[in-house]
């Protein structure tokens, strides 16, 4: 089986089959991640499509050998941040989120309340929580996804967890 990086290199050369294979391979996990981040399946559906459109647009700029998964989740996180910004403008983010039907991904009340607190974190802290705990990326992958050193990932994650504890 071809690796993600091999497939992406083929996509960069314009191979649509390789792009289809990547979409099929990552769609389920990426969608689950976006459902957790957005708290809404409809929004996750939109962002899933938008993520892959961005991948297709940026394919020619893909640097051979660059790990695909962090890159992909980095794009998805940027889109999710834009989504939250728009949402915050429209209404109070937390109120909107609580008014929505309980998402399947975080059924427990505690999980839901925690996700609400995550959504209130500053953007740069929020995205490290998303990538670490919702997408399951390790520190090296997060550093790659966000384009920051590992030490910064560590300190942001620590600050985010502190922020979550203090907002209890």
């Amino acid at each position: 089986m071809e690796s993600d990086e091999e497939l992406m290199a083929a996509v960069a050369r314009g191979d649509e089959r390789a792009l289809g294979a990547l979409v099929d391979r990552h769609a389920v996990r990426l969608h689950a991640h976006l459902v957790r981040v957005c708290g809404s399946r409809d929004d996750a559906d939109d962002l899933l499509q938008e993520t892959w459109l961005r991948v297709a647009r940026a394919a020619r700029t893909y640097r051979a050998g660059r790990p695909v998964r962090p890159w992909l989740y980095g794009i998805a996180s940027n889109l999710a941040n834009d989504h939250w910004r728009r949402r915050a403008v429209r209404s109070r983010a937390a109120a909107t989120m609580l008014a929505e039907p309980a998402p399947r991904a975080l059924g427990a009340a505690e999980g839901l309340a925690l996700r609400e607190r995550v959504s209130r974190l500053p953007e740069r802290l929020r995205e490290v929580v998303w990538l670490r705990y919702y997408a399951g990326l390790d520190e090296a992958e997060m550093a790659e996804a966000l384009g920051i050193p590992r030490g910064t990932v560590k300190s942001r994650l620590h600050a985010a967890i502190r922020g979550l504890q203090e907002s209890t």
Binding site: L19, R104, V118, K154, L157, H158
Partner: protein, 166 residues
Amino acid sequence: MSARKDRDVSCEAMQSALESGELAAAPQLREHVATCADCAAHERLLAVLAGGAAEPSAPPALALVAHTRMRASRVLRAHAAAPTRGLLAEGALALAVLTLALPLALAHAWLVAEGAVALLGGWLPPLVLEGLGVVYFGSLALAVGALYALLPLWVATLRRARMEAA
């Protein structure tokens, strides 16, 4: 005071270890967490975060995945075709600017030099005039060289802006 500070430092290290997940099962860490309310709360928070992420989520509809695949392929096709044309056009434009600019710059330099000789020839000794000429042509060559070196950058910036806008 010192004991409190030591404990804070220790908690900080323990919580970092919990976050990295590297030492979650270490006996020393377990012992500390068992006796420290702060770290226990920290661990609980991490567990809730991780637990939420581990919960299964209904997969996306097959039609959505198929639609995504189709749209992404269409975008890939469009972007694969466009850049070559764009690059050729931008390359030709840069070449045209280069071709036009060089004779203009040389003609301008020649006029300035001739004018300077005509105006200052009677007033300044030839050695000073030559010195001024060297300074003038040297700075002109540097400026033109810098402008030419900026052209590829300019083309690249244009292309990048267009791709990002797309």
